[in-house]
Structure formats: structure tokens, C-alpha cells
């Protein structure tokens, strides 16, 4: 399974990890990872440590997550990007929408 989720200790943070290619083929799995409507979740972490590649449809999926998590008030951290992934995020200036670290 290329997408895994876990809750951080306090139960309020949903961590979504993506392994391998983050592209259109992971569309459904990525949505399933957060669309369960659990009211306890207030923070999201998208962990890209094992993500080798990210394309523009993945950027679109991140926007969908942002919308789901409240749009401008969403609290989403994208972390552990490799250089290629980081470059794609910064060409599109996604730092303006997400906390990338």
C-alpha cells in the first residue's frame, strides 16, 4: 500500500505518508486517507520522506486536502521532501499555501 496513515499521540494530528510516486494513480487512496470525517483531527502532516516523485495532479490533490481541511484556515504541514519534490513544490510557490519543512 503506497499510502499509510497514522495518528500522532494526541490523536488530533493525522499523518499521511506516501511511498514512491505521488501522482494521479494515488488519487483515490490519498482521498480515502483523510476523508473519514473524524472530528478529532485538527492538524495534518503529509510525510513525503519516501516519495520519489510528485506531479501536478499531486499538487491538485494537496489543494483538495487543503480545501477539505478548511481552506485558508487549514493547518497542514508537508515534511521531509527530497530535492526534486521540494523543487516542484517551490516552482508552484506552494509555500504560500502550506507549511513546508
Amino acid at each position: 500500500m503506497p499510502i499509510q496513515t497514522r495518528r500522532d499521540d494526541d490523536g488530533q494530528t493525522l499523518v499521511i505518508s506516501i511511498e514512491g510516486r505521488f501522482d494521479f494513480s494515488t488519487h483515490q487512496a490519498f482521498r480515502d486517507a483523510y476523508e473519514h470525517g473524524d472530528p478529532d483531527v485538527r492538524y495534518y502532516i503529509v510525510d513525503l520522506s519516501d516519495t520519489t516523485y510528485l506531479d501536478s495532479s499531486a499538487l491538485g490533490m494537496l489543494l483538495l486536502l487543503r480545501d477539505y481541511a478548511g481552506g485558508d484556515s487549514a493547518r497542514i504541514v508537508i515534511e521531509n521532501c527530497n530535492n526534486d519534490v521540494r523543487r516542484i513544490l517551490s516552482i508552484s510557490n506552494f509555500e504560500q499555501l502550506f507549511n513546508i519543512r
Binding site: S56, I91, S92
Partner: protein, 585 residues
């Protein structure tokens, strides 16, 4: 498709060919008792001709027959069946392995040994019927996919033609623009538009929608309409971008957006303005060889709400001969057969090796071509190169056909005044141009009219209201300072105004447009201004840069200053098109 259950239980039409009358009768009786319909013949030749006539579902062939044996008949029947799977079973008392192998090589699918065993015959016929039906299903599905694909290609072809009509109404074919866009690029989500600006210069937009196919192509239409519609009317790049962003934000679902870059080139001011949101670095390659990266500084279009969208352009000076290079992601993602991508390294490497005489467009295309080897396959890249040139060398709007000059408004007058903070937020030029363009006789002159209006307006705003010294623009450092100061001063324009009065009337041989531009500024000493008095371009001047004034003088019949120099009046005449060109001289 037929009901599969009915198809499985339907009696089969079975062709038997056997020269032994008794064997044939036994088999025929047996198959009829199983419920099948049986056709029977006594040699291979008859088998082939009956097969051709009746197209049975299954064939049972004796290997050894007079006239034409089973092997020969099997070859003919398999040939006639073509793509259809018709199971062909040899009836044989042969037991030698090589003889049996020859039967299969001739096209047979299996054997039945004589004497017949009823249970085995029934089982084999069922098994082969299953195989036959599966083959039939696959063939039907393949045909369906093939047909759907043909329809899709046809629809795309039509959609592409419609799109081409909308998208290519611009000036991509101008001599100073080089570009590559694959014919199908629209279905990769790539768009490229270019339009001459009424003020002179050119506006270019390159975009890359997320996704592929029809969903990616669909956003291109409104963007093309907005781009060409607004660029033609004299809106600047910022306004066009804001409109595109707002439109895409409204129509695209979340998760779909458009990476894009817009370049506004002004050949009069020798400057390029660029906005890049999500495309790879664009490059300014100066005639001197110097290279400046113009990276993405914004989010792509269609993501941010209008009030959050930042349409601020980056401004760089660029002289004739300097070139701007823009590309989509597809260019960087061009891959060789091993899957390695051209990448940013490919681009910067090519630029590093660029000689002064090389055209960057050719160098870039050659480099990516060399890299991929099989260019045709992965051809979904878009590349565009704009060369800065002398203002005079670039033909702006094409001369339109001479309209009937007497139609439309001829005698009119209007006054339009913008005041207070609107001075900093709104350009009246598209509106004023629009009013003038209602006069058919002025329509062919839209470039000149726009220039006149723009010169008057910019002088009134920048030097009249904002009191910016034009000398600043003469040095590269001052250039930046000038625009920073302009933005700063625009924030405090209380009590200021700029008023245009347009007055049009007919004359015997054409028409006259009188434009009065007044502003609330201090004015200037026009009586002692060198270029007002002599027409010689001055090296320094208080209010008017020599160039702007000379331009006004060249285009207009007369130009007069009133009051303390904050009231300018110009007269512009146009003539009816001559009906007989040769009566002249």
C-alpha cells in the same frame, strides 16, 4: 452483447468431413443427440466450400481424405475464418506423433481418436465452445475500444480545429517570435498565445493546465478568449492575468489549475515585464550574452481568490536583440529511451554553451532533440522565444479593411475624469480607446490613437500628478527607483484628477479628433521647454521626456499647451480611404 448464458447453451453448427460413410454417420448421430446442428461432407474440398457458405461454429476433419486431405482443408478453413476463432478438431486413427504434430501445424486445435468416445467428444466440444466464446467476447470488446478510440480522436480533431481558430488569432507568426508547440499540445494542457498591444509591443501567455486530455483542454478556451479580447482593447498584463485567474478560480474544480507565465514586452520603453506562476524559469538572454533567470514567484492561476491573487510583474530593461525564452514542464520532462529527463540541467547546460551568434530557440530545440533521440514520441513540450526589437520594426494591429467611414458616430463629444484613489487603481485607456474605436475612420488607426492617449495619460499621471522626474528612467538604477516611487506616490493622490475631453467631428475629406487632457498637477514651463520650442530632443527636461513629446508631435497635427502646462490639447486628423489610388500623381 448477447446473453452469455443463452450463448453457452445454444446448439452449435458443426461441420463434419469424413470419407468413411459409417464413421460419419456415427458421429453425426451422436452430435445430433447432443442437440447440435450437423453439416456433413465426404472430402476436404467440399468441407472448404460448405464452410465458406455456412460459416459453422466448429469443424471436425478426418485427416486422410480423397481429393483434398484434412491438412490442406484445415489451412484453407483457418484462412477463411480470419480473426474468428473456429475450433478445428482432427478425427484420426493415426497414432504416430509426427503425423499428429502435422495436423496441429496445419491449423488444427486438437484430435479425437477413432473409435469415438461419447463422453470425451461432449467434453471437448464444450471446452472448445468456451474458448470460442471467450475469443468472441475479447474480439467484440477490442472492436468496441477501437471504435470508441476512433470517435474520440475524431472529436479531438474537431475540438482542436475550433481551438486553433480561437487561439491562433494572435501574432505568434511575427518575425520576432519563434515557438514550438506540438499539434496535439492542447490535449496535454499546453497553451500559447501572443497578441500585439495597441500601445505597441506584444503580450505573450504560456500556460500548462494540470492533467491531460479533454479536462486539460477545456480551460484553454476561456483563457484564450480573455487574453485576446482584453489584449486587443489595450488592457495591460496585470488586468488580463487577474481576469484569467478569477475566471479559472470560478470554473475549475479544486485541484485543477494552470501554471503560466505572461510576458509584456514594450519596444518603446525597452523593457520586459514578466509574471511567472508555476512554470520553469524563463530566461532573458541579452544580445551581449548575459543571462537572467526569471523564476516562478507566484502560485499558479486558478488557485487563489481574486483578493489574494498577486498580479505583480517583475520589470527588467531589455534592448533590441535581447531575447526572452519561456518553456513548459514538458520541455524539462523530455526523456531519453532510458527514462532520464532533460531537466533544468539540460537547459542551463545549453545556455552555458550558447555562443553569441546562436539563436537560443534553435540551440534549445537542437539540444532536447539530441538528448531524447526519438523526438517524435514524447513530443508534448512547448517552447517560445521572443526577440526585443525596434519599435518601428514591429507591425502592430493589421490594417483592417476600409470600413464605410460614414457609418457610426461622427459628431460627438465626451468628458471623462478619474479622481482620487481611482488614479492608482484603474487605467481609463481601454475605455477611451473603445469610445474612439466606435468611429470607423479611426479604427484602422487604433495603434496611433492608443499611443496618443497613453502618452497624454502617462505624462499627466507620472509627471503631472505624481511629479516624478523622467531623468530617473535614464539609468538602470533610476529605473527601479522610478517605479518604486511611482507606487509609493500613487497611495497619496487626494484631491488630484485627470480629465480627458474627446471631441470628434467630420471634415470634407475625413474627420478630426480633438483630445484635451488636463490634470491637477503643477504643470511645467512649456514656453521655455526646449523640445516644445524646437522639436530637438533634449538631454534633460523638467516634465516631458523628449521622446514622449516628439512622439505626440509626430502623430498629431498640432499640439498645444495651455494654462501653466497642465492642460494639453492635440488634434488628430484622419482621411477617407481614396477610392482611386492612381489619380494621385
Amino acid at each position: 452483447m448477447d446473453d452469455p448464458v443463452a450463448e453457452h447453451t445454444r446448439p452449435l453448427r458443426i461441420l463434419i468431413a469424413d470419407d468413411s460413410d459409417s464413421d460419419r454417420l456415427i458421429l453425426k448421430t451422436l452430435l445430433k443427440r447432443l442437440g447440435h446442428e450437423v453439416l456433413d461432407v465426404a472430402n476436404g474440398l467440399d468441407a472448404v466450400s460448405l464452410f465458406r457458405q455456412e460459416a459453422p461454429d466448429l469443424v471436425l476433419l478426418d485427416a486422410l481424405m480423397p481429393i483434398m486431405d484434412g491438412m490442406e482443408a484445415a489451412r484453407e478453413i483457418k484462412f477463411l475464418a480470419g480473426e474468428r476463432l473456429v475450433p478445428l478438431i482432427f478425427l484420426t486413427s493415426l497414432s504416430e506423433a509426427s503425423a499428429l504434430a502435422r495436423c496441429l501445424e496445419a491449423g488444427g486445435d486438437d484430435f479425437l481418436s477413432k473409435p469415438y468416445n461419447r463422453i470425451i467428444i461432449e467434453a471437448k466440444i464444450k471446452a472448445f465452445n468456451r474458448m470460442r466464446l471467450m475469443h468472441q467476447t475479447l474480439t467484440d470488446q477490442r472492436d468496441l475500444i477501437r471504435e470508441r478510440n476512433r470517435q474520440l480522436t475524431e472529436e479531438q480533431e474537431i475540438a482542436k480545429r475550433v481551438f486553433d481558430n480561437v487561439a491562433h488569432s494572435g501574432c505568434l507568426d511575427a518575425t520576432n517570435i519563434r515557438y514550438h508547440a506540438s499539434p496535439q499540445s492542447i490535449f496535454n494542457g499546453d497553451v500559447l498565445f501572443a497578441s500585439p498591444r495597441p500601445a505597441g509591443g506584444v503580450l505573450i501567455f504560456m500556460g500548462d493546465f494540470t492533467g491531460h486530455g479533454l479536462p486539460a483542454a477545456i480551460g484553454a478556451m476561456p483563457v484564450a478568449e480573455i487574453f485576446y479580447g482584453m489584449a486587443n482593447k489595450g488592457f495591460n498584463g496585470q488586468d488580463v492575468l487577474r481576469e484569467i485567474n478569477q475566471k479559472l478560480k470560478r470554473i475549475l474544480p479544486t485541484g485543477m489549475f494552470c501554471c503560466g507565465a505572461m510576458v509584456e514586452a514594450d519596444f518603446k520603453l525597452n523593457q520586459v515585464q514578466i509574471w511567472n506562476g508555476g512554470l520553469p524559469d524563463s530566461w532573458l538572454i541579452r544580445a551581449s550574452g548575459e543571462q537572467v533567470a526569471l523564476p516562478s514567484r507566484h502560485l499558479p492561476l486558478g488557485i487563489l481568490a481574486p483578493d489574494q491573487f498577486n498580479a505583480e510583474f517583475e520589470r527588467v530593461g531589455a534592448a533590441p536583440g535581447d531575447r526572452v525564452l519561456m518553456m513548459t514542464d514538458g520541455f524539462l520532462e523530455s526523456a531519453d529511451s532510458a527514462g532520464n529527463v532533460f531537466g533544468e540541467r539540460g537547459v542551463t547546460g545549453t545556455l552555458d554553451r550558447l555562443d553569441v551568434g546562436d539563436h537560443p530557440f534553435d540551440a534549445m530545440m537542437a539540444a532536447v532533440h539530441r538528448f531524447t533521440g526519438n523526438f517524435e514520441d514524447g513530443d508534448d513540450l512547448t517552447l517560445c522565444c521572443l526577440e526585443m526589437m525596434d519599435e518601428a520594426g514591429f507591425a502592430t494591429l493589421p490594417d483592417r479593411a476600409a470600413p464605410s467611414a460614414l457609418a457610426g458616430p461622427a459628431e460627438w463629444r465626451c468628458t471623462y475624469e478619474i479622481r482620487e484613489r481611482t488614479l492608482g487603481e484603474f487605467s481609463p485607456l481601454p475605455l477611451l480607446l473603445h469610445i474612439c474605436m466606435e468611429v470607423p475612420g479611426l479604427r484602422r488607426k487604433s495603434g496611433e490613437i492608443y499611443t496618443l492617449l497613453a502618452e497624454l495619460y502617462n505624462n499627466a499621471l507620472e509627471h503631472g500628478v505624481l511629479e516624478l522626474p523622467s531623468e530617473w528612467k535614464h539609468s538602470p538604477e533610476g529605473f527601479g527607483r522610478y517605479y518604486a516611487e511611482r507606487n509609493r506616490r500613487l497611495a497619496s493622490v487626494e484631491g488630484h484628477y485627470i480629465r480627458f475631453t474627446l471631441h470628434h467631428s467630420l471634415k470634407p475629406d475625413g474627420g478630426r479628433l480633438r483630445v484635451v487632457c488636463e490634470d491637477s498637477g503643477q504643470g511645467f514651463d512649456f514656453r521655455n521647454h526646449p523640445s516644445v520650442a524646437s522639436g530637438i530632443s533634449p538631454t534633460t527636461s523638467g516634465r516631458y521626456a523628449g521622446r514622449g513629446l516628439l512622439l505626440l508631435k509626430r502623430l498629431a497635427e498640432t499640439i498645444r499647451f495651455h494654462e501653466q502646462g497642465n492642460h494639453v490639447e492635440i488634434v488628430y486628423d484622419w482621411q477617407f480611404a481614396r477610392t482611386a489610388e492612381n489619380r494621385n500623381d
